[in-house]
Every structure is written in C-alpha cells, then in structure tokens.
Amino acid sequence: MIMNLVLTMFTLSMILIMIMSTFSKKSKNWREKMIPFECGFNFFNSAQMPFSIRFFLIAILFIIFDVEIALILPLLTTFFSTSLKMWIFSSFALMLIILMGTLIEWKENSFEWKK
C-alpha cells in the first residue's frame, strides 16, 4: 500500500513536470538572459567555487550528534521489554555522554562561527 502511495507521489510530480514542459512553450533565449543573475554584471568565473570551512565543520558536528540520536532511538521501544534498572542505567549513561560531549565541544570552541 505504501509503495502505491509513493508511486502516486512520483506520478503526481511527473505530471506537474509534464504540464510545465508542455505549457511553457515560449522560448526566446539570448546570451544576457542565459547568464546567472548577478546584479548587472557578467560573471567572471564559475560560481561552483570553494566555500567556507565553517559549513563543513558544522556538518561534521551534525554527524556526531546524529549518531548519538541513532543510539537514543531504541530507548523508546525497549522500555517494557527490559528490566527497569538496565533501562535507567543505559539511558542516563547515554544522556550524560551527550551532555559531556556538548560541553567538551563548547569548551573547544567548535560552536564559534568565527574565531
């Protein structure tokens, strides 16, 4: 059933694309129209250039926290199937690790946008 619904989504957006490519027939292209918008200038070089390293570091931080989220997720379903002591121990240990990790990252100035 879910597969059918997902396929419905795909067909819906394909239909939208097809409607678009049939209706927007007008095309008069010249050079000025094709160049990327840059406030009246012609562009010098390609815009796909190196970017600031801060964005990359933020992504690395996100991966660490995402792995921790993946470790938290089983806590939701295993509450009634394990012993209470085990659940308390594991959940509190995980949360303490996450909190300590956050504080260590903070101490090392990983969260600062500019040095």
């Binding site: 957006s13 939208l16 927007s24 094709m34 406030c39 964005f55 996100f62 989220i69």
Partner: protein
Amino acid sequence: MFKLMLMLSSLILILMMLVAVAFITLLERKILGYMQIRLGPNKASIMGISQPLSDALKLYSKEMVKPFNSNFTSYFFSPSVSLILSLMIWFSLPIFKPILLMKMGLLMFFSILGLGVYPILMAGWSSNSNFSLIGGMRALAQTISYEVSLIFIILSNMILNNSMNFFKLMEVQKMFVYIFFMFNFLLWMISCTAELNRTPFDFAEGESELVSGFNTEYSSGTFAMIFMAEYMMILFFSSFSTIMFFGFYMSELKYFITVMLFIFFFVWMRATLPRYRYDLLMNFSWKIVLPSSTLNLFFFIFLNLTSK
C-alpha cells in the same frame, strides 16, 4: 472494491493538500497585507479567491530559462524531488489511518526530514550562481544544526508513550495534553521556524543580502514546485505540532482550527519580526537550544520512569 475506494479517497486527500497549499499562499498574502494596512490581493473574482489558481496558471505558462553552465539535470529535477519529499512526509502521520498506519512513523519522519536538505543543496549548487550557492549553503547549515535539537524535542515527547507510533501519541494525550510542557513547546516553535526557513531565521532567502537565495535562477514551473514544497512543509509542521502538542484527531473540527492557528502564527511572525544575524543564529542553535533540549530530554526520561 473497498481497497480501490480507500486508494481513491487517499488520492483525493493528496490533491486537496495541494489545493490547501495554494490557499495558504493567499492567506499569507492577505494577512501580510492587512498587517501593513493595505488590502492584499482582492481583485481576482470575489475577494481574490481565485488569485492563487491564476498565479499558478501564470507561473506554469511562463518561459523556462536554462541558465548558462548549469548542471541541467539536477537543476531541473531538484524541485520535483523536494515536492515528492514534502508529499511523502505526510505518510508518517496517522492521516491515512484505515489503509496505512505506520508503527515506526517516527523513523519515517526523521529520514524524510533528513533527506529534505538534499534538493535545496542541489538546487543551490547546480544553478551556477553565487547567490544560489551561498543561499543553499546557509540553508543546509541552518537546517542540519536545528535538526538535532528538533529531533531531541520530538523524542522527549515520544518517550512518554514508549513507542514510535504517532497514533499512540494521540491516544496518550486524551488524558494529558503535552502543550502544558511550555518550555518544550517554546523550543519546538523556535527550531520549527528555523527548520522551515521562515522569517526570523530566513537566511536561505534573505532578500536584502541574497536576491532570493537558492531559488534565484528558477523561473517558471520549477519555481512553482519549490514554492509548493515550502508551503507544504509549513502545512505539515502545523498539523504535526497540532498532533504532537494537542493530540487532536483529524476528523475533529478543533484539529483544523488549531492547524489554522499555527499557520497564522508562522505568517504573523513573518509580519512582525526582523531578520536575525547568521552567526548569532548558529550560536543560538548550538549553545542555547541544543543544551536545553538535551536537558529537557533528560527530564522527560526521568518522567517516563513513572509509567512502569
């Protein structure tokens, strides 16, 4: 036959979602208009009712520009990917309940929310313009850094019913509504706005700095698709917060009223609040929202011990 009817009804539901998205844009323009003491769109048919439809028709009949040097495949298909994702995220909610009730709806929600940054990055990178690239980068960094705290907040609500099923969340809230955890709700609204790239945090398309952000180069139907995907996400997050903090069912009238109130709140924030600063936004995410949501999750885990 019965299955066919269910399929047809869900298809109609999806189409109605698209129509609702069109009218949300009209609602936003009207509210923005009245908040700036002007009328907003009121000419097309009666009181501007058919304005969004004619807007869509106009956008679809306009010329499609293929920018020079752009990677055309990813430029052309990333809006439709974005639209597909924002339509698919509805399956995680118990809306299609007779035919589809996800036991692990939370995982579906997380995975599609995580996928949502790819079309933005693809659109920003492949249209080969400086504004698009910077807007895409900003949207990416902002979305992923608020996603962590967003997931912590959702987990702290879901941990009280000990399952990943959103229907169970609504069942639990018959007795106690989670809106009473006001701090959690405040954190949710902040990270929700940042996740949607709405106005206090709309660095993905800051008009005064970047022209329109990652969709600068998009023109006709592709732009309409990006627009639809964004407003679909607003609609989704409004209904999701209604389910998560109020626990109303889809068949009730108060559910729709609450959804409308949430949408009105997002538009209201756009009309009143000025734009934040980008480095302050990042500091706010990692230094205030993330530690407080982690402590909040700690509190909720402690609270959950009473349920055994």
